[in-house]
Subunit: 902 residues, 2 copies
Amino acid sequence: MAVDGTEQRALQYEQTLMYGRYTQELGVYAREEAARIREDGRHRRFISERSPSIKLLEYEKGRCVKCRICAVHCQRFLMSRVGEDWIFLILLGLVMALVSFVMDFCIALLLQAQKWMYGGLDSNVILQYLAWVTYPVVLISFSAGFTHIVAPQAAGSGIPEMKTILRGVVLKEYLTLKTFVAKVVGLTCALGSGLPLGKEGPFVHIASLCAALLCKFMSFFGGIYENESRNIEMLAAACAVGVGCCFAAPIGGVLFSIEVTSTFFAVRNYWRGFFAATFSAFIFRVLAVWNRDEETITALFKTRFRLDFPFDLQELPAFAVIGIASGFGGALFVYLNRLIVQFMRKQKTINKFLMKKRLLYPALVTVLISTLSFPPGFGQFMAGQLTQKETLVSFFDNRTWTKQGMTEDFNYDIHSAAWKHPQANVFVILVIFIVMKFWMSALATTLPVPCGAFMPVFVIGAAFGRLVGESMAAWFPEGINTDGTIYPIVPGGYAVVGAAALSGAVTHTVSTAVIVFELTGQISHILPIMIAVILANAVAQSLQPSIYDSIIRIKKLPYLPELGWGHHEKYNIRVEDIMVRNVRYITLNSTYRDLHEILLIANLKTVALVESAESMILLGSIERAQLQALLSQHVGRERRLEFIRDAERKRVSVVSTPSSEEGGPKVNHEVRFQISTEESSITPARPISPKPLKPALKRTSTAEKNIEIPTSPQDSGIGLKNLLCARPQTDAMENNNMEHTVAPDFRPLKRVRISVLEDPDAEDDMTLGEIEEWEEQQLDEQVNFNNCKIDPAPFQLVERTSLHKTHTIFSLLGLDHAYVTSIGRLIGVVSLRELRKAIEGSMTVKGVKVRPPLASFRDSGTSGTSSESEATELHKLWDRHSGLSIPREQQPNASDSDDKSQ
Amino acid sequence: MAVDGTEQRALQYEQTLMYGRYTQELGVYAREEAARIREDGRHRRFISERSPSIKLLEYEKGRCVKCRICAVHCQRFLMSRVGEDWIFLILLGLVMALVSFVMDFCIALLLQAQKWMYGGLDSNVILQYLAWVTYPVVLISFSAGFTHIVAPQAAGSGIPEMKTILRGVVLKEYLTLKTFVAKVVGLTCALGSGLPLGKEGPFVHIASLCAALLCKFMSFFGGIYENESRNIEMLAAACAVGVGCCFAAPIGGVLFSIEVTSTFFAVRNYWRGFFAATFSAFIFRVLAVWNRDEETITALFKTRFRLDFPFDLQELPAFAVIGIASGFGGALFVYLNRLIVQFMRKQKTINKFLMKKRLLYPALVTVLISTLSFPPGFGQFMAGQLTQKETLVSFFDNRTWTKQGMTEDFNYDIHSAAWKHPQANVFVILVIFIVMKFWMSALATTLPVPCGAFMPVFVIGAAFGRLVGESMAAWFPEGINTDGTIYPIVPGGYAVVGAAALSGAVTHTVSTAVIVFELTGQISHILPIMIAVILANAVAQSLQPSIYDSIIRIKKLPYLPELGWGHHEKYNIRVEDIMVRNVRYITLNSTYRDLHEILLIANLKTVALVESAESMILLGSIERAQLQALLSQHVGRERRLEFIRDAERKRVSVVSTPSSEEGGPKVNHEVRFQISTEESSITPARPISPKPLKPALKRTSTAEKNIEIPTSPQDSGIGLKNLLCARPQTDAMENNNMEHTVAPDFRPLKRVRISVLEDPDAEDDMTLGEIEEWEEQQLDEQVNFNNCKIDPAPFQLVERTSLHKTHTIFSLLGLDHAYVTSIGRLIGVVSLRELRKAIEGSMTVKGVKVRPPLASFRDSGTSGTSSESEATELHKLWDRHSGLSIPREQQPNASDSDDKSQ
């Protein structure tokens, strides 16, 4: 089992790398693991909710006199909570500002080192080339290797994962200290290599990691940071801090993080983000002042455009052109990025090779990109010697390059000089720069290192804007005519517009405009920028998903896609069209055999509990784990032993005390058994190990070594083997989504059996045949739901609820399934998966009814035809209150009333 | 009845004015009316949802050959929808920009006229004074009178109402053309008077009005603008446009409108707001360029602070001081504003007098304020001759006033000269200005004219900032020392910071910072502004509600207050603590008598339908109107007549044709009856008059004159009189909130009776005694729910749901009540009212259980003690499945599983 574990873990790592997700089955496993963690998290939450009451209870019971002390404690506790938010946000801002500053410092050092090497070797071009290329290869390889070994989850941007986490899904290992270390170190090296990579996406992730770790840290002192909804609020604030301290852009950071990570945003969290991001940006810039880099707090890429006449109205068409072109460019970038990933995945041979030589792909890509940007080589045509920052500074410069032509005027500073080439026009160089950087960035962002795509895209956008600006300046050397005064065209303003537009198009956000204002420290171009950004968004959104949504799809993260605007035909789809009609349910009169069968057949996370098969009145839902616990409690070994003991007792009649030599091993066994049942969540009131974020496999190998035995399903040759160990693999492939929150429940049960099997000679003197017979007998008994946690109000929808409304409710409440009822009767279930399929338009999945969009317009009396067989089957069951069944002709009422149910 | 109507209408108007809400009973009536409109709206929506399908159905049935044409139509329909959003937003932006520009133009004209008059009469101070005072008095009186006559809803800011509307509550007449006219005209006059009033709040309302009217207008062409959720999305965008085109601040507008109006914001609506606001701001500024006011598009209050060293780090404490002081100031402003309103209301004698002389209060206030700001009088100490705009421009000036002292240097422009006084120091003048304007603004915003508080507060904030800035400049005349270079202090920057901080504190928003950037066109002070705004918010939010929430409370609008941050003790309150336990319900076996009783006793909007009193399984909820329809259908006159006819038929046995003289009046009567049943919503499938926004009373007076008879309850002397006419007034006072969506249902029924009573000799030959006997007999029959609309999935909560979660769900889904169930059994109901009470902390209302905050920490077995009697009563009923009842000891499970139900 330990061997199994490490192997699976190793495989699983690959799934987190974008290019490394070679097989789908592994993904399934990873999702199971994630779901398992989530389950654990729930238990922990439940316990943390309960524990204070338990503690208090014991306290009060024990010493009623000390009630006053308790009250004082509570008071202090409540008071401290008020301040804790502030303290938390300040700490978060401080830490992130430090991280950002130190990382920037290290990156600058690394880049300087490369320049120094390159400059020092100017005697020999080949040596120069080797230094130029090997340096980034080493850094990228180290980054990829380090990330791979320490925490493969740290690779990539992190924003897609944060989006999924904020949606309510718990991803395994995404918020651990190891990931934090891997991300920080990996990102520093990756950016230090000089490849076109950004730090913005990873910073969102780093800030969230920081927040999660701080939460953990602070939960040692206070209580509230164990509250899940609070943690999510803090994560949302952390995302804002991430962007805020990366660009020293607090407002843009808050807005960008909202746009990128949220579907519905709670306005009451707004101030948190602003507060933390402002504090973080402030500290980040103050550090620069203290470090004597700056005289006072100013913008990161300060521009000096004229204030009194920033642009002419007649320049607006040019800005609009930038916006539209950026929209197409942004869509192309997302498409190209996805194409590269998919190409790498499809090629089986490349795949296999790269899987073995994990560092080869990053190294090859780095060599390619470095070679092309080698300054004495092709790099001279694309300003290869400039770093990203220098490039941006030169683009945002407020002096034109073309009007002065190739005069010495152009050489005023080192950065702009890079754009001057004796043979080539500045336009040609810009075009080459844009084209080369475009595919380079798309390629570089697929590397399995921590990296973002925002900054490279930002630079390309700025280049494109500069190109248009320079063209305009060349076209109107005297400026566009206004009343007498000559206002020459400012190409730097165009660069700013282009940067905002292209990054907005790629990320599908409007707030890049605000980020740009804060980055440049000037807001005078607000209207051109807003116009360009909105146009770019309009174009890009109608062509491609955002880069983050694209990655979500590539990684197959469990996320609900947005209902695009303009897709109003979706309004015609009703829940009844997409719901799964053959719901598995148990009734109050179910036997344990029914339970057994349901657990075997269905892969549902929760099972519906109805009053009876005739009435189908939904009473609630029970989690799979609960049912399993019920079942194993009823037919498990403990009960069997008890049964035997009872029988024995009856037989022996009067034996007052057990013999001492029997007591020894018995106690021993009981203690052992308790440990394992704790893990199997049969007794949910017990405190469970409060570290759910650690991988389950690892916990197994450390904490429970004593009962861990390498075992295979064959070991347990008892009647219920098939329930406890068998996994319907074919279904698992079908029910990807459902299953990823289901399967882990098997594990603890398995372990229970194992621990029991450990000493097979304890006192179990039944033969296998006898056991089977006993189990069969037990299975026919009616289920006793007394000790079962029932969720009494699972979320219910009505059959006529529109897709639009369903989507809203699912994303508002973070549901993953909802039952469809009709006057209390359960008639179907709809899960995230069906909803996703319906939205993505591929509604031809097994079990999902397809109905043409106009079906709802038809006579409501015939609307059920496509699914009549199932529907009537259910309706037949409902004849107890025949007077109650809604007449079919009145269906519009149902849709009306479902409006009101909101 | 007609007399009644106008009287009531006149009374009702008062309720919408802040100072005019003299009696609570009137408010109740107004709320009923609002609820009635809402009901109508629902019916209309239901019909509009149904109508296309009906049309299509008829189309297809009639001519199946023309299916292709239909398909083309559909295609075009769908395609047009995609574009319609854009068209709508562009139109909205355009119209609002025009409105804003024209209004600004008119306001400028009006202000100029005052100046001209004042200037022209400089020979005689008394004439001058008369002109100075009468001019605003006339304007304000006209504004108040016009608003009062045309649409009293137009008075005040409008943001509180928009907040309530976006919460899902339909307010009567708030979005009509009349209100639009009243608001635009009233606002222009009010601002033209020169009082310290703002246009920002009203502009939010105007933009929403514009959007609502555009929606109506566009629904003539396309279909989708009848969709309610879409309309709300558009209203949200409109709010952004309102702020955006008022300040030419698209980004700030979007953010401010989100902060001010939303609780949960759908990020997918973000682009709408940005697009419309940007377009609107663009047009607004372009109009200024075309009008030759400006050379190109720039900021409204352009500043020219130096870019390279905007402020020194050592100035930050001063900015923080501004922030904290502004926080206190903002809270004080809100308090003062509320105090004035409450004072005016409490004084019975003043009240009565002002109610008669409606225009006296505005006139008196105007005289007071104008007199004090009369430039040759006290106005010379507070720059009384400057308009709001000029004041702001002078505050934002980047030159200091103090360093030059009283030299001629100070006189460089007319605006700054106003701050120079031969006798008084500039500090003294600023202090006087701040103090005077503070109470003046608080007073002026209580006037019953369309006016906002944002701009006055903004100006006061700027003044305070300038005061601090000038003090700093006087303190450090050479600037705060840095490395060699002298950077003098810029008091204008302080003014900007102060403006943002104070307006942020009053409105509890952070986005005033962004508005300030866009207003001034400079972002260099971003960090000081953000710090000050956040500090101001922190202080203000902990002291007072925002000005808008304060107005919501004053006007008693149905809005759910926010859960303040830091109030974590609220987490300990569970739904079971606040829910109403004696829920009224009907069962499947209820008789019509039960229905009758329930309708008599309870004032619920909807009644819960349970399976039986023993099981208490919640099957759904039925609206009150539906039940009333059921009841009146069953014991109404029509059925009685039918019953008589049947009896007759049986008696006469074989009569083939009715006599002709009987047919005449019968047909006549039937037609008449149909009209009235249409109104009474007994047959919901019929198309109901599609103008729900008009007041119900007016429709009565026009459309149904023929059946309208002045009548009093005494007229209907029949057995059910008490049901149909009696209103439990005592309860109505108690159940304010519940009732405001309930009572209107009475009206249509009353009318049915009236129309029937009209010809009492038709063929009703039963005596009153017989009728009563017959009714008694009918009442004992079991209810037939066949034709009844049942909401099959009313929202359900679990008893252990926390207050925090309940609040979230209520505000997310816009609920106004939710049933509390326990494994399908109905155990309580919680409505907006209970929730509001619980949040506001006043939990001592009748019917609401009070439990100390720590109660949840207690042994869960005893948590029900305070309400045990009721609880056990219900639990006793539930003995059919005794095995199912949750064991009390396991209560934490319930709370755990309710987490999962999300």
